[in-house]
């Protein structure tokens, strides 16, 4: 199905993380919130293969629970911002004129800022919490979708079959949803996989900066942040969450590449 074998590797990794996130309460060896100061920063051993963190909590258990946060934040941000971006992009590209002008200037303004900096500013205003991280990331996440969809709509809407759909008396909404959207959805899916990786990094970054999950929550970014204080004495505290973030992001990028090759007729050599 996919020519690039890395796509399969990506799919396996994602599937692995989804399964571990779903089954965390059953497979985690310990309670991720349990504090055991006697075993603080204990290095990996046979019983605790990833060792223990600053509070003596089992890193493996926290990583398994952390997968839930990363995936839930990633999926919710990409789904909601994707829907907003698709709708705005469709309207902007289809109607053109002043609607397009206004929407695209807003897009330009948002793109002119460094994304993470704007997210930090938004979370600083809204107050640090995981929900506000999601809101901030959605507020910025729709932008690339809207821009991409708008461009695609402009190229598709001039095709004969769109004129044919209008000729047959279908409303603008039906033309957009039934005739234009299925023709551009593959490009949007590819964009979504790349965005998902970006969102996971952003969530981790914001949690690392103390703006995301509250202290003690097993978020990968927060774990990385806690690890940086003891990176020389106990590098395992930061290495494992770092590896988990890297693996998931890499996996989504592999899948994005594979999907792009598969769904783009220009690159799909049969």
């Amino acid at each position: 199905m996919f020519r690039n074998k890395w796509t399969y590797a990506g799919l396996i990794i994602i599937l692995f993380f989804i399964v571990t996130a779903l089954t965390a309460p059953w497979i985690a060896p310990e309670d991720p919130y349990e504090i055991n100061l006697v075993l603080q920063l204990a290095p990996p051993d046979a019983d605790h293969i990833m060792g223990r963190d600053n509070n003596g909590s089992d890193i493996l258990s926290r990583l398994l629970y952390g997968a839930r946060i990363s995936l839930v934040v990633g999926l919710s941000v990409v789904t909601i911002s994707g829907i907003i971006g698709i709708l705005l992009g469709l309207v902007s590209g289809y109607y053109g004129g002043w609607v397009d002008l206004i929407l695209m200037r807003i897009v330009d303004i948002l793109l002119a800022f460094p994304g993470l900096l704007l997210a930090i500013a938004l979370v600083a205003v809204l107050g640090p919490s995981l929900t506000n991280v999601v809101i901030a990331l959605i507020a910025l996440g729709w932008v690339p979708f809207a821009r991409l969809v708008r461009g695609q709509v402009i190229s598709v809407k001039e095709r004969n079959y769109i004129l044919a759909a209008r000729t047959s008396g279908q409303s603008d909404l039906r033309v957009m949803i039934i005739h234009i959207l299925p023709n551009i959805i593959s490009v949007v899916i590819v964009q979504a996989t790349f965005n998902l990786a970006g969102v996971i990094i952003s969530e981790s970054s914001l949690s690392f900066l103390g703006l995301g999950a509250p202290p003690g929550t097993p978020s990968w970014g927060a774990m990385l942040s806690e690890g940086k204080q003891v990176i020389l004495d106990a590098p395992h505290v930061s290495i494992f969450p770092g590896l988990a973030i890297m693996l998931v992001v890499l996996a989504f990028n592999f899948v994005g590449d594979g999907l792009r090759d598969k769904l783009d007729p220009k690159t799909d050599r049969k």
């Binding site: 044919a164 047959s168 008396g169 279908q170």
Partner: protein, 266 residues
């Protein structure tokens, strides 16, 4: 078939301009014609003569800009199609007046199956369930001569041959039993044998359904087979019009004579 003739469509003094860099060029000049019930009007002319713009204006489909300065009247059963609401237009498009495009490959949505596209058309205008829309689509495909129609419903446009695609397009156009069919060079993209088959299909539809047809082509030979009336367009103007036999027997314009002589030469 033409027993109960009455004006169904009247185009009165239709003018369309093209505006570019401050310059205005007239694309259609004072086009007027009448289409009666059950009648087939052939519009013939060379490329750029304004044939497609004429039929697209009937459904108020011409792109503005670049086109502008649309004036005149297009009366369909007392409704002026150039001055009616979008809702009114939508209820006429496809249901009362259907359009058949030149290139079925580009006029059919590549990501939707033939069946879905016909059913979509039916369900746009009729409040019918998926099941009865499916049955209707199957019988339409059968009517236009597509073998094993139930299987073809699942096919995508690229899986059908050119002739089949055009038949599917025609089935789609017929789905709401329109009073007028606007056929914009429906045989041009097809090879000669398929062209003959599709023309035969149009003749059958004329006989069985009594649909009025406006048939646009640059090929006088095709018009000769199907039209009752002929209108010759050149540079956006009607240079000759009248009953087909009369024009073929005694063309008044040199240009029409040339077209007819070319036909003799083929």
């Amino acid at each position: 078939m033409n027993l109960n003739r009455s004006p169904l469509l009247q185009v009165i003094d239709l003018n369309v301009d093209f505006k570019s860099e401050g310059k205005t060029t007239a694309i259609l000049k004072e086009i007027s014609f009448v289409l009666e019930k059950g009648e087939t009007l052939g519009i013939v002319g060379e490329s750029g003569s304004g044939k497609t713009i004429t039929v697209q204006s009937i459904l108020n489909l011409i792109p503005t800009p670049p086109l502008s300065g649309i004036s005149g009247k297009i009366l369909f059963k007392d409704t002026d199609l150039l001055n009616c609401s979008q809702t009114q237009l939508r209820s006429i498009r496809g249901k009362e007046i259907a359009y058949i495009f030149q290139e079925p490959m580009t006029a059919l949505n590549p990501v939707l199956s033939i069946g879905d596209q016909i059913m979509e058309m039916i369900r746009t205008h009729e409040s019918t369930g998926r099941k009865s829309a499916f049955q209707k689509a199957v019988s339409l495909l059968e009517e236009v001569g597509i073998p094993s129609p139930e299987q073809r419903m699942k096919n995508f446009p690229h899986e059908l041959s050119g002739g089949m695609r055009q038949r599917a397009m025609i089935a789609m156009a017929l789905s709401c039993n329109p009073e007028i069919l606007l056929a914009d060079e429906p045989t041009t993209a097809l090879d000669v044998t398929i062209q003959a088959q599709v023309l035969e299909l149009f003749k059958e539809l004329k006989q069985t359904r009594g649909t009025s047809i406006i048939f646009v082509t640059h090929d006088l030979g095709v018009i000769a087979e199907i039209a009752d009336k002929l209108m010759v367009l050149r540079q956006g103007m009607i240079i000759e019009e009248g009953p087909l036999d009369q024009i073929f027997k005694s063309p008044q314009q040199e240009y029409t004579r040339e077209l007819i002589s070319l036909l003799g030469g083929e």
